[in-house]
């Protein structure tokens, strides 16, 4: 299991492939891989967004992410999980977060992946500040993950 905060742009697909190659190539026990990639949009609440600053609480962020992934492991017993989250200044089209889960069967992979991203969005101490055309704005709340 790997949890990482990243201060610069990353390619989620390369990360997925790299992790699978490094950590999972010795075994053939996983039959399912589920992943979620969150990407920065250039539009929010009707306004053009030029860039975004992602602030976090060093120490607590890692602690909360570890708790979330551990709780998911206790519930679904997957084989491996990878979480990478950006911090610092982010541009539109750049990935913000990658969550990937490898498990024997698809049920645990889908459910654990969904659980990790939803818990991350509601409990991990990150905050987004958007730079708009002529001003800055803190994002005040996340949208619901369930419609």
């Amino acid at each position: 299991m790997r949890i990482e905060l990243r201060g610069s742009n990353f390619n989620p697909w390369d990360e997925l492939q790299g992790h699978q190659r490094a950590a999972l190539s010795e075994q053939a026990s996983y039959g399912a891989t589920a992943c979620f990639v969150g990407t920065m949009r250039d539009l929010n609440e009707g306004d053009t967004v030029h860039n975004m600053m992602l602030e976090h609480y060093p120490g607590m962020t890692e602690k909360q992410l570890e708790k979330i992934v551990s709780a998911a492991y206790a519930e679904w017993g997957f084989i491996d999980a990878l979480v990478i989250h950006r911090v610092g200044n982010i541009l539109p089209n750049e990935p913000i977060v990658l969550v990937a889960v490898w498990s024997s069967h698809r049920g645990a992979a889908f459910d654990a992946c969904r659980y990790i991203i939803e818990e991350l969005k509601s409990r991990a101490p990150f905050w987004k500040k958007e730079t708009l055309e002529a001003r800055e704005r803190w994002v005040e709340h996340n949208t619901s993950g369930y419609y």
Partner: protein, 77 residues
């Protein structure tokens, strides 16, 4: 008695500083910490709190050497 108080995001900007160190006596809970740094105001429902990097409520006890943080709702992911 020494409590390190940290602020994040929009609250950090409102406070005009990133942290405080409280050394006053009579601080027993998270709500007491908030009152000490906000001139007696009650802790608003819109502000989240953590003690030693775990989520906490207004009534959560605080002890000498603890790190207490206050911040708005989180918006990561």
């Amino acid at each position: 008695m020494s409590i390190h108080v940290k602020y994040f995001a929009s609250l950090r900007e409102q406070m005009g500083r990133i942290d405080d160190c409280l050394t006053s006596e009579g601080i027993h809970t998270v709500a007491d910490v908030w009152k000490a740094v906000r001139e007696g105001q009650p802790l608003p429902a819109t502000i989240l709190a953590a003690v030693n990097m775990e989520y906490a409520g207004a009534d959560t006890p605080v002890n000498d050497g603890d790190e207490v943080a206050f911040f708005p709702p989180v918006t990561g992911g």
